[in-house]
């Protein structure tokens, strides 16, 4: 953590801790409201801003929790602390059910579904008699801690802001960790995540539940602070207001939650003071002002306040954080034992893939042995990419067998194939441009580590994180990018991005590395560097299968070639033999029939 940031955090903490001393109880209640909102908006920043799942229904989760604890403590006369347990459990169960149903929805269907359940849930509150229908539940008891009742807003203040501090800390720790890197990679598609063995759907579901749990804590605090719940603070309008707070503060940053909630609620409060002086229709005007504000933000400042701050920060060059010392070999991530050189590791037998009437791959067989570089080549439309997708589990074969290390992998999903030791790169580079090189490569080591969201958020992952970053650094050094760990992947030229993908694949400690057209779009010099890198990897014992278009590049590099044409295998052999094969010449040059 930089010194400047330490100063900021320290100052903010002291200011918040001392706030009740100097402020009137009116401002304390306002700060309490802000703190409660921060919790909800924090969840939205994690879910929407960072995870890319837009929710228009977050207020409904606050409502579930508030009603759960209100019901338990009024009609059942039980302790608010039991109410907290019930609130958390109920909200999590609802979130799990809703998330399991809807989080596979693609495109704009997912945000639309959040409107649907957000609306349905908030309507339900007003229609359940046990929950007081439209009038709600009142006389909710205050929370008491060790016999002391927190009935006064001054007493609630420390509970609320203590929970806010804990939650911000949790989310901050989480984002910098193994599951956090996956969360930050969710935007931009799940194929990359599957290739490193992470299940985007499960991560999204956990994130959804986490955001709901944060909303639930807010709901519990809300119920026991206001001592009264009714349906209207939990409807879609309230959800939109939380979203406004997130956007106003900066939806991509945790601090944005603090800033956004603060600014929006202060403005709201200010409007309630000022508007009645100007017009008699103050209440109406307030919602108009808010809607207009939200629209203006989305027009001109989608980055929110933190967007401006970041632009200012970028103007000054920030010093890259120092790297930790290298770990001793005994403390590194465990490596798997590679099969002895020459042993057959991948065997493809009579594989067929049909798309309707089109046979893209027609009875292709070949083998790859440990420690060699095999090239899979062929003219356009030969079926190379389809073959590639069959090997990596993106597509399912129609017929035939694919065995890897003696096990049939042709029915396995991408993540399981990755787990078995096949790592891949992409023809169209799939990196996370806003993440550092180090983070991008660390993503590759996902399957070699195990800490989940809870452990990471609580900070129980330090040893493992150190090992992951040590591994990522060594892989970066291996491909010649040592010293550039903290640059952003998006700032690299295409050639370097392709090499970075190889480092990510290597971080998975693969038995077999499959490269999809690694030389496409590279300049001559970059191609030479790539060849040298791949030769070095072969010397280290990595087996490589290259699907490639560029004959010159492949011929000089590989040990063996498999040539495909029109979906079938044309021939197989050493480069020199293949080069003189009349069938191959005909396929590439259009021979005399």
């Amino acid at each position: 953590m930089s010194r400047q940031r330490m100063v900021w955090i320290g100052g903010l903490t002291i200011a918040l801790a001392l706030a009740p001393v100097g402020l009137s109880s009116f401002f304390i209640s306002l700060l309490n409201d802000i703190g409660i909102s921060v919790l909800v908006v924090l969840g939205l920043v994690m879910l929407t801003g960072i995870g890319g799942v837009t929710s228009f229904g977050q207020a409904a989760f606050v409502g579930i929790a508030a009603y759960a604890t209100a019901w338990l403590s009024t009609s059942q006369h039980l302790s608010p602390w039991l109410g907290l347990v019930l609130a958390l459990v109920t909200t999590a169960v609802f979130a799990l059910a809703i998330g399991a149903l809807t989080l596979r929805l693609g495109g704009h269907f997912l945000p639309l579904s959040t409107i649907a359940w957000g609306l349905s849930l908030s309507m339900l509150f007003g229609n359940i008699e046990a929950l007081g229908s439209h009038t709600g539940l009142s006389n909710i008891p205050a929370i008491s801690v060790g016999g002391m009742s927190l009935g006064h807003s001054r007493d609630m203040y420390y509970l609320i802001w203590g929970l806010v501090a804990l939650s911000v800390w949790f989310c901050w720790r989480l984002l910098g960790s193994r599951p956090g890197r996956v969360i930050r990679s969710l935007r931009g598609g799940s194929v990359l995540l599957a290739s490193v063995g992470a299940d985007a759907y499960r991560v999204r579901l956990s994130l959804f539940v986490l955001a709901a749990v944060l909303a639930a804590v807010a709901g519990w605090l809300y119920a026991h602070t206001n001592r009264f719940v009714s349906p209207s603070p939990f409807d879609v309008r309230a959800s939109i207001e939380y979203l406004l707070m997130a956007v106003a503060g900066g939806i991509g940053q945790l601090v944005g939650a603090l800033l956004g909630s603060g600014v929006v609620l202060l403005v709201k409060n200010g409007l309630q003071d000022v508007l009645p002086l100007l017009t008699q229709k103050a209440g109406q005007l307030e919602s108009v002002v808010f809607a207009a504000w939200f629209i203006l933000m989305l027009h001109f400042a989608r980055g929110g306040i933190m967007g401006f701050v970041r632009r200012l920060q970028r103007a000054r060059t920030a010093a890259a954080p120092a790297l930790a010392a290298e770990l001793p070999a005994s403390d590194r991530l465990p490596q798997r034992a590679l099969p002895p050189r020459g042993q057959s590791i991948l065997s493809v037998k009579g594989v067929v893939k049909r798309f309707g009437g089109l046979v893209a791959v027609n009875g292709v067989s070949f083998e790859v042995r440990a420690g060699e570089i095999v090239g899979l080549i062929g003219p356009n439309g030969a079926g190379k990419s389809t073959m590639f997708n069959l090997l990596t589990g993106v597509l399912n074969k129609t017929d035939g067998q694919v065995h890897f290390l003696g096990q049939d992998i042709s029915a396995l999903a991408q993540q399981h194939i990755a787990r078995m030791g096949i790592a891949r790169t992409f023809q169209h580079v799939k990196l996370r441009p806003h993440m550092s090189l180090l983070d991008n490569v660390a993503l590759g080591a996902h399957l070699r580590s195990s800490r989940g969201i809870l452990a990471s958020g609580l900070g129980l992952n330090r040893a493992e994180e150190a090992r992951i970053f040590d591994e990522a650094r060594r892989q970066l050094a291996r491909i010649g990018l040592a010293g550039r760990e903290h640059e952003l992947a998006g700032n690299l030229p295409l050639g370097t991005q392709r090499i970075l993908e190889i480092a990510r694949a290597l971080a998975a400690d693969p038995v077999l590395l499959i490269l999809d057209e690694p030389a496409a779009g590279l300049r001559r010099k970059e191609k030479q560097e790539l060849s040298e890198l791949l030769r070095r990897l072969r010397e280290d014992g990595v087996t490589i299968l290259i699907v490639e278009h560029d004959m010159d590049f492949v011929m000089k590099l590989v040990d063996r070639l498999v040539v495909m044409n029109f979906g079938s295998k044309l021939t197989e052999g050493e480069p020199a033999t293949v080069r003189t094969d009349p069938g191959v010449q005909a396929a590439y040059l259009g021979g005399v029939a």
Binding site: L119, G188, F290, H299, R302
Partner: protein, 351 residues
């Protein structure tokens, strides 16, 4: 439940289905051309109903003020963007189009408001008066960010609804109104079973309007331009279609549909300034059944929503809306399963 009740509920469902059909068409039209889920659609329908109610009470409708406010904003936006591009020569025409055209229905309404005019004229003026609302809103709020992601557009559209309903409350007040029945006729079907003329009118209107809609789309060049923009914006531009203009046309047409919906339902339900939201959302369920692209499937969806709603209200009046909106989730699941999504278009809010 016996057959008689089922029949009554079915006919009720048909009538509301007709309304959702018209609204669904408007939503699909706007979405397919602009990628905007036009949430404020229902608000415009409510405004047309309240306008008609004002006319019936012999008052000048407050809608005029609303349209004038939007006109001023639209003129400022348009002239501002022309000035920034240094296109001074186009300013007079812009003033005429954005400042002049929306004033016409306002003048008409102002002229006839307060006088005793025939109900037919009241209806025509009410519908005409809300027609500029959607195009003006679109010019001010949506067109400047037409290339933003669908998600940003959705957020803006939702915020726009809250803006409109706030304005609605300011201009129309919190009181609800119900207008006179458009027709007092009723038809007898079989054994003493009556269908009110209003219901028949609603269904007939839905059929005629959607028929016209179909003809416009299939047979006119304008309709083809709309379809072309819906299929591929860039491609449409390459053959000389201006997406901004087709978008305007789509907003205008949907505003017109909203106007019709308002005058059709005002006699059967009490309309408040914010009643439109729920109508719009239900039509939206129908439009999603059509995947937000297919008009025939939207029609089927609208009928389904109408009938589900009417039967749901028989079992539980309070929960009928919950039931209809919960229906959206299985529909979305099915739709999402049937539609292909490309991986890369998931990039959302910019940092």
């Amino acid at each position: 439940m016996n057959w008689d009740i089922a029949l009554i509920l079915g006919i009720d469902g048909l009538a509301s289905g007709a309304v959702y059909l018209l609204a669904g068409l408007g939503l699909v039209l706007v979405f397919s051309v602009t990628r905007v889920v036009f949430v404020p659609f229902g608000d415009i329908a409510a405004f047309s109903a309240l306008t008609l109610a004002a006319f019936e009470m012999g008052r000048t409708p407050p809608t005029i003020g609303l349209v004038l406010v939007l006109t001023v904003l639209a003129v400022l936006t348009e002239v501002g963007s022309l000035v920034r591009q240094r296109e001074w020569a186009r300013v007079p025409r812009a003033l005429l189009l954005w400042g002049g055209a929306p004033l016409l229905p306002c003048l008409l309404a102002w002229g006839v408001g307060g006088t005793s005019m025939s109900p037919a004229l009241q209806i025509v003026v009410s519908v005409l008066l809300v027609v500029p609302v959607a195009p003006l809103l679109a010019r001010v709020v949506l067109q400047p960010i037409a290339n933003a992601s669908a998600l940003v557009l959705l957020m803006v559209s939702l915020a726009l609804h809250f803006l409109l309903s706030g304005l609605g409350l300011m201009f129309f007040g919190p009181e609800g109104s119900r207008t006179q029945s458009l027709t007092n006729a009723s038809f007898t079907l079989g054994a003493g079973f009556n269908v009110s003329g209003q219901v028949a009118l609603m269904v007939a209107c839905a059929l005629v309007l959607s028929g016209l809609f179909f003809l416009m789309f299939e047979r006119t060049l304008m309709g083809k331009a709309l379809r072309a923009t819906a299929v591929n914006r860039v491609g449409a531009r390459l053959v000389g279609i201006r997406p901004a203009r087709t978008a305007l046309l789509a907003y205008g047409a949907s505003s017109l549909l909203a106007g019709f919906i308002g005058v059709l339902i005002a006699p059967v339900t009490t309309m408040y300034y914010d009643s439109g939201f729920i109508i719009g959302l239900k039509a939206f369920v129908a439009a999603i059944i059509g995947g937000l692209v297919s008009y025939p499937m939207t029609a089927v969806g609208a009928l389904a929503v109408g009938i589900v709603e009417s039967f749901a209200s028989f079992w539980s009046g309070a929960l009928k809306d919950v039931i209809v909106f919960s229906l959206l989730i299985p529909v979305l699941l099915l739709r999402s399963y049937l539609t292909y999504h490309s991986e890369e278009d998931e990039e959302e809010l910019d940092q």
